[in-house]
């Protein structure tokens, strides 16, 4: 177990190095931030001097090496616009995003699982058909469209919830509902098919034949088995939501990392963009490792070697 975690962590570091190369090259290939920074009035000398100050006149490998060296000490460079350490800016915004994602998952996953289980029990009945249709629609609708629609209805027309910003609990409702609708839809579909899969098994019919109540058959035996694919999906959806927050935070002016990355990409603030991408990478790797470890708790057949 210990050796397994260690190996996974080493693999994670290798993945992060790969990710850093990709993002490093891509941010520099996407345009020269200095021209944006100094504005159209800047002279060629001024631009040259600024590039030298930022180290942009060096070759790409040299730049990357100095970036990695500093990153290893926790220094991810300075934001070109805020003139503050990029890591501080990113970590400052990260909690808001994390809260939004956790709230969305906290209601989205249980609700999705509940509807999915009910759909599976009521297979091909009215409830199932309605649930399936809604889930399909919920998954197909783009997040930004749902967000804008919710703002139009609940903020502009009825004025129940704030249209943007992060203030009290009420400000969470619309952005979390936007992200959450996607989560509910995805988990409904997944849980339904996972449950139907499990319910066809011999051990389910045998559980009934040994007199186990239908409630136990569904909620204990079937659901625990169905949890394996569900758990896998929790990891996937977490990462999807990290990316999904960019649109949602832009719509709801949520002071999180999604909004920050959107602004930083537009402004060419590459130290911040790099830091965000690497943070996403760390979170993704961490969540996946955690889920792989949880598997073992759920399924005794899984061994870590």
């Amino acid at each position: 177990m210990g050796a397994y975690i260690l190996r996974r962590l080493l693999l994670g570091i290798i993945t992060l190095i790969g990710l850093s190369i990709v993002v490093f090259v891509l941010t520099r290939a996407s345009g020269d931030p200095v021209a944006l920074l100094l504005g159209p009035q800047a002279t060629a000398e001024q631009i040259e001097a600024e590039r030298a100050r930022l180290g942009l006149d060096e070759s790409m490998p040299v730049q990357y090496w100095s970036f990695i060296k500093e990153a290893a000490t926790g220094d991810f460079g300075e934001s070109l616009f805020y003139h503050e350490p990029a890591s501080e800016i990113v970590m400052d915004k990260f909690p808001a995003t994390l809260k939004l994602i956790v709230v969305s998952l906290a209601f989205g996953i249980p609700l999705g699982i509940l509807i999915g289980v009910l759909c599976a029990i009521k297979r091909n009945k009215a409830f199932d058909i309605l649930g399936r249709t809604l889930a399909l629609v919920g998954q197909a609708l783009p997040v930004f469209w749902v967000g804008i629609l919710l703002v139009l209805i609940f903020s502009v027309k009825w004025e129940i919830f704030p249209a943007g910003g992060m203030s009290g609990p009420q400000s969470y409702v619309l952005p979390a509902a936007t992200l959450g609708s996607f989560v509910v839809a995805a988990f409904t579909r997944l849980t339904r098919s996972a449950m139907l899969d499990v319910l066809g098994n011999d051990f389910i019919s045998f559980a009934r034949a040994r007199g186990i109540s239908e409630k136990s058959v569904i909620l204990k035996h079937a659901l625990k088995n169905a949890f394996l694919p569900i758990l896998t999906f929790v990891g996937l959806i977490f990462v999807r939501l990290l990316a999904g927050t960019i649109a949602v935070e832009a719509i709801f002016v949520w002071p999180g990392i999604g909004l920050l990355s959107y602004q930083s990409v537009l402004a060419g603030d590459y130290p911040v963009v790099q830091t965000i991408v690497l943070l996403f990478g760390v979170v993704t790797i961490g969540v996946n490792l955690m889920i792989d470890l949880l598997y073992g708790q759920l399924d005794p057949r899984i061994r870590y070697t």
Binding site: D202, F203, G211, I212, P300, R301
Partner: protein, 333 residues
């Protein structure tokens, strides 16, 4: 007269589907005493399994429904029981030995968890008693170091051990009726023999009645006291094992016996029964075996009645008439 443990009377279980009504079990009657084993034989889809599921009232919903008859277990009609009462009977008085013992245990719960779950449902006893009952029953089915095995998960046990765990459940819950639905079909021959002797021991230990579903006549000979031959939802012949093999009366029974390969005689091609069982949606009028029967006559347009030709030997065939009037080609097998 010894009262029957189980008595099934005119049981009818139909499946209502878009293609029509499939009469999977259509007027089946038989009785079973304690300590006795009744073999239920026939081709796939003749209604053997549905008969078993009907006794447990676990016919696949919503298509399947028991539309008529009585199932008397120790004199009480199971068809009048509530779902809660049935749950107490399933796994309690009536133990099911599933078709695939390898996959019948839930892979994500330990043996203890599943065994104790079953015991607690059917026996009122304190926690310590449950543990002791579990250990004792595992010991009775000859599982070595039961205390250790209880903590294992199904995948950590061999196939043979998993079967014995299922047997232990029936023992722990003091089943009086064991329904074994093709319990050996999925097993290879060496394990088969072991499993059969385990089932026999269980039956004797509990002094239970056993319904043994199979299409292997060789197993019937070794396991059963009496045999009921099913065809297209009906029992066409029922007799003590000896009588079935020595003087089968129904043409279908004879054909079944002829199609068993034998070691002691030289045969060329193995005999097979021409044609297929009729679709249950669309049974021929009269005797259902008529289209495949080489001796059918016009009389077969009418469904033959059940008649007792000898004590305990029942046949439904027009070619057999009256008590003692055995057919000319008796002793064919």
């Amino acid at each position: 007269m010894v009262t029957a443990l189980l008595s099934v009377e005119e049981l009818k279980t139909y499946f209502f589907t878009r293609r029509g009504v499939a009469k999977a079990v259509d007027g089946v009657s038989f009785a079973l005493r304690r300590g006795e084993t009744l073999g239920l034989v026939g081709e796939s889809g003749c209604g053997k399994s549905v008969t078993c599921l009907s006794i447990l009232r676990l016919v696949p919903q919503p298509a399947g429904r028991i539309v008529g008859g009585k199932i008397l277990l120790e004199g009480e009609n199971l068809l009048e029981k509530s779902e809660t009462e049935m749950r107490r009977i399933r796994g309690g008085k009536v133990a099911m030995i599933p078709q695939s013992p390898m996959t019948a245990l839930d892979p994500v719960f330990s043996i203890w968890s599943q065994l104790s779950e079953t015991i607690k449902r059917h026996q009122k006893m304190p926690g310590k008693g449950v543990w002791e009952t579990a250990v004792t029953s595992l010991r009775e089915v000859k599982i070595p170091s039961p205390e250790v095995r209880l903590r294992s998960y199904p995948h950590q046990l061999s196939g043979g051990m998993r079967q014995r765990v299922i047997g232990a459940m029936a023992l722990a819950c003091q089943a009086s009726l064991i329904i074994a639905d093709e319990p050996t079909t999925a097993l290879d021959v060496t394990i088969q023999a072991q499993y059969l002797s385990l089932l026999r021991r269980m039956r004797d230990h509990l002094h239970a009645g056993m319904i043994f579903v199979t299409h292997d006549l060789g197993i019937v000979k070794r396991m059963c006291d009496r045999v009921a031959v099913m065809y297209a939802g009906k029992i066409v012949e029922e007799a003590p094992v000896k009588a079935i093999f020595q003087s089968p009366q129904h043409p279908y029974t004879m054909a079944l016996i002829k199609s068993v390969p034998r070691l002691d005689t030289k045969v060329g091609r193995l005999a097979s029964i021409e044609g297929h069982p009729p679709p249950l949606f669309d049974l021929p009028a009269g005797c259902a075996f008529r289209p495949r029967c080489s001796e059918a006559t016009e009389a077969c347009d009418v469904i033959p009645l059940r008649q007792e030709i000898e004590q305990g030997h029942w046949v439904s065939c027009h070619l057999v008439r009256g008590t003692g009037d055995k057919r000319r080609y008796a002793n064919i097998a």
